[in-house]
């Protein structure tokens, strides 16, 4: 029953995106040229990658509002490393970005796991702390294109088989997460913890540790996106991706990931991100001021949760008492 609802919701979303694209295409056929669609996908790639990380966090009944700040901090640090030591190979830069991001995510995770602090408070706090640290690292200075080495900037834009590396990385992340979420014990634990933390404890799942891992995943992806973002736009400063955390949450919510935990899918998160990406790229084409974007994504969030809430009406009966270790 619930499985069907989830499937149909993704189908509805996919149809909505197709209908929207089709509608735009009737007036502006150029919009559905393969090259333009590839462009839209590439432009949405950072949002897709972050939405995957946010999805697993939300699945465990938590939320991560620090992803954009994490992205900006990691981006600033790898850009600084690049200006100091331009010879460091890209592979190592990416490894640094991912581990640094994972470390920042782990800090969130530790606070949620070991101190039981509500996730929203933790990540609201770390969001401002990480942003502040960028200022301390950079002393408010920008790192501009000419200070970055050529390979550093070129990597996400290099094309393989017609698609930029940025798009390929997004596809790789989607595949990886599809496997992790559906085929590994940890992936199933994300659902179990969000669906019913008490039952999860009784089945031998460490609820706190599972949440911690979700934050580490979200952090690692933010770190990766941090490098890609800075390299793609060839600039790093304190405010990059400001407010992007809400867009990421919006992508998840639109994609049918339940904020109450336990419900969601990789396909949903990706479609939710694509929905926002198509809207964002279509607005200038159909001659609507980009200032409309904020209000449109706000309305999309509200409509999406109203839809999701209907699907979640039928709840199971509580047959187990509260387990002591679950919160």
């Amino acid at each position: 029953m619930i499985q069907n609802a989830v499937k149909s919701r993704e189908a509805i979303l996919a149809l909505a995106i197709l209908a929207m694209t089709g509608l735009i295409a009737t007036r502006f056929p150029g919009f559905i040229r393969p090259a333009n669609l590839a462009n839209v996908f590439n432009d949405t790639a950072p949002l897709i990658i972050l939405a995957l990380g946010q999805m697993v966090v939300i699945l465990t009944r938590c939320i991560d509002l620090s992803v954009a700040a994490n992205l900006a901090l990691t981006g600033m640090i790898v850009a600084t490393i690049n200006t100091v030591a331009p010879d460091i190979p890209i592979g190592l830069i990416i490894a640094i970005a991912i581990s640094l991001g994972a470390l920042l995510g782990a800090f969130n995770g530790i606070l949620v796991w070991k101190l039981d602090i509500p996730p929203i408070v933790v990540t609201l706090g770390t969001m401002t702390i990480y942003r502040g640290i960028i200022f301390l690292v950079s002393e408010g200075q920008w790192i501009n294109a000419h200070e970055m080495s050529e390979p550093f900037k070129h990597f996400p834009r290099a094309t393989i088989a017609g698609l930029p590396v940025l798009s390929w990385i997004a596809i790789l992340c989607i595949t990886l997460f599809a496997v992790i979420v559906a085929r590994t014990p940890l992936g199933r634990a994300f659902f179990a913890v969000g669906g019913n933390p008490n039952a999860a404890v009784y089945t031998g799942i460490d609820v706190g540790f599972t949440r911690f891992m979700a934050y580490v995943f979200a952090g690692a992806l933010s770190g990766l996106t941090g490098y890609l973002w800075v390299a793609r736009y060839a600039v790093a400063y304190v405010d990059i991706a400001g407010g992007f955390e809400l867009e990421v949450v919006a992508a998840c919510v639109i994609g049918g990931v339940s904020i109450a935990g336990g419900i969601g899918s990789v396909a949903g998160a990706v479609l939710g991100a694509l929905f926002l990406g198509v809207v964002k790229n279509a607005l200038p084409v159909i001659n609507i001021s980009p200032f409309w974007q904020l209000a449109i994504s706000g309305s999309a969030i509200i409509i999406a949760i109203a839809f999701n809430a209907r699907a979640q009406r039928q709840k199971g009966r509580v047959i187990l008492k509260t387990a002591e270790h679950a919160t």
């Binding site: 609201l124 408010g140 209000a295 949760i305 002591e324």
Partner: protein
Amino acid sequence: MSETAAGPREIPDRLSSPIQRLTGSWETLLLAVAIAVFFVNTMASPYFLDPWNLSDATFNFTEKAMIGFAMALLIISGEIDLSVASIIALASTAMGFAVQLGFDTSALVATGLLVGLVCGAFNGALVTGLGLPSIVVTIGTMSLFRGISYIVLGDQAYTGYPSSFAYFGQGYVWWVFSFELALFAALAVIFAVLLHKTNFGRAVYAIGNNPTGALFSGIRVGRVKFILFLLTGLMSGIAAICLTSRLGSTRPSIAFGWELEVVTMVVLGGINILGGSGTIPGVVLAAIVMGMVTFGFGLLNVPGIVMSIFIGALLIAVIALPRIWRRISKGTRA
């Protein structure tokens, strides 16, 4: 996230003595911190202890604290409103628009209050009517309300407010006491009475501790929550009037990021983020502490963003420390 604290609550055999309760309370600790901050600031800068400087410093917190009072009640009842800063933006934009239509000052005030109420009613209807989680609803309306301001204003700004409108943000009641400070004090008293001395206030606590229990004891949970959202919207409207009057102009980015500062202030004031406990005096003290710290840092030329690190760390520390403390004290007893 709105998780209800389902764990077993410990009920002591007997209550601690009033003096013990007073000295061990969060509010006493905050008062000590406020006094300490005051002294450190006085030592650090010779310009701190000037009545007019101190009066200026109060503008750092009065508007945020007005919203904080209503937010405190909302959080005690187990909900949250992250759209408050966006309500300010929308109310301010509406007032700017009204100026273009030639409204006078009293009509401008009415516009601001009305927009606040409508926004609050919208949040409240979505949360209580449709039964949606308040955190996502208000993340959505946060984009929506500010988005409407952006649609109306784009990269423009509204100015040209009538001179009599300036009183709300720039006027003084007596000597160094500004209109905003007087309003802050009056609202503090009103909210303290509302929360601590009325049936409505008891209902708010009851709902925060156990919504189902509250429902079965005859409290109209949905209605109380709806009123709280209305109240939060109204207070945001009042804050919008003060802020717009003080700045004399409206941009869509007005009060950006204030929702975080208001929540931080409320949590720092000892309101339990999971609902069920906290006091208005705590919020008042937290507002003063945050205002004084910001002002002190400002006098010492500390950049704003470094202050935000401090505020973020404060938010986490304030919640983490009691938990660590409880764990240690439990460990020694066991």
